[in-house]
Symmetry: C2
Subunit: 239 residues, 2 copies
């Protein structure tokens, strides 16, 4: 498996043809997994909010503490549910189902200092559009992952995970298969898409401004939605 | 970054010189990160328990439900704290501090059907010994990660993470650095070692019996303990 950063991409602005920029900067082949940081997908899709345009609700003001209540208001709008609150930290479940800090609302790498970037409205659809457009431009059949950096319970530091995908199965289910001594692997499901997103992050860096990487040499073509990764409530021990 | 499986390793037994087997099977160069699955480290270190030798306590019998109380007994012995219990699922914090299913006690890929494999007693020390022995045998300065497959809160599927490391910093702290528009990245810590472990898993597979992979082309040399990744209790919102 090789993981290569895609260098030379410009700053992404609303309306940019991100797939074309990627297709021109990377030398893609069939079977590649193209991992695209959520931040540039959101920017291309115009998912940016200027805080001056936000009127915080009473609830946002009450929760804000010393924080900017406009930012909290944006987080509340992106949230289906607040999971934990310890100002300035808000862990929320997004409207897509993902549990993460600030419901994915992020001020770092925003296009202007007083704005925040939201997650794509439908990151699977974003991945599917990128995949189709790349096929149209290059004739190559690739998979696409839209990635974001999420914190974890019990462990420090973020790892990049898949919040959208197209052209691959995000989960590899080994249920019923047997290991080398014949023990049945009952509950072994591997979060392949999350591991691919994390591998890509290793070459992207956070400060380097490299928002795309290509993972080559894996055999992961398939179908599925990154929302399949969300733990169903009835199996979630940590709601 | 390249990630290559190390193929051709034999079944590992207690007392095996695992570092020698790796050094002979892989063509290591300075700067490589050698990711070794916990399972083979534990086997080489004799961290295997035959269930026939286990007398379950009253507590293990009470918790077992329909499960084998001897297996529950082993889990309790490896646990500092039970985090969640929904039989047959036990989420526990190990004596090292890691929160994972069954306190890392695993029956899959065990050397015999009626035995279980425990986590290494001190996975950082295991990694350090492998690293030193590899240096001794090959003259190469590598980093070593001992990896295991952990489930996550809120997300389905396991990802491999680092439970032991030597020769690298498991966390990359960007605090105070600035992104491209000058926004200070206040709380950005990246769990580099976990992402490397996950990348390695992608080429190891679970059934293929490939317990070692080499990650090449990263600049991660440093110092640190995988226990640094454990969230300190005062910052842990999910105890």
């Amino acid at each position: 498996m090789k993981v290569e950063p895609v260098e030379g991409l410009p700053e992404i602005a609303p309306g940019d043809d991100l797939a074309r920029l990627i297709a021109e900067a990377a030398n893609l082949v069939d079977g590649d997994v193209v991992v695209v940081s959520q931040k540039v997908v959101s920017k291309a899709e115009g998912r940016v909010v200027r805080l001056d345009d936000v009127e915080p609700s009473d609830r946002a003001r009450a929760l804000a503490g010393g924080e900017d209540p406009r930012r909290i208001e944006v987080i509340l709008r992106e949230s289906a549910r607040i999971v934990r609150l310890r100002p300035p930290l808000v862990i929320a479940q997004t409207t897509h189902g993902y549990v993460c800090a600030s419901a994915g609302v992020d001020a770092s790498n925003a296009p202007e200092p007083d704005s925040v970037v939201l997650l794509p409205l439908d990151p699977d659809a974003s991945a599917a559009r990128l995949r189709e457009r790349i096929a149209e431009l290059t004739g190559r059949t690739v998979a696409v992952i839209v990635s974001d950096s999420f914190g974890r319970a019990w462990r420090q530091g973020t790892t990049d995970v898949a919040i959208g995908c197209a052209g691959l199965s995000p989960l590899l289910d080994l249920e019923g298969e047997r290991d080398r001594v014949g023990y049945e692997l009952h509950a072994t499901v591997i979060a392949v898409a999350d591991q691919i997103a994390g591998a890509a992050q290793l070459v992207m860096g956070k400060l380097d401004g490299i928002p795309v990487a290509v993972v080559r040499g894996l055999d992961v073509a398939g179908e599925g939605s990154a929302r399949d990764i969300v733990m169903p409530p009835e199996r979630d021990l940590f709601r």
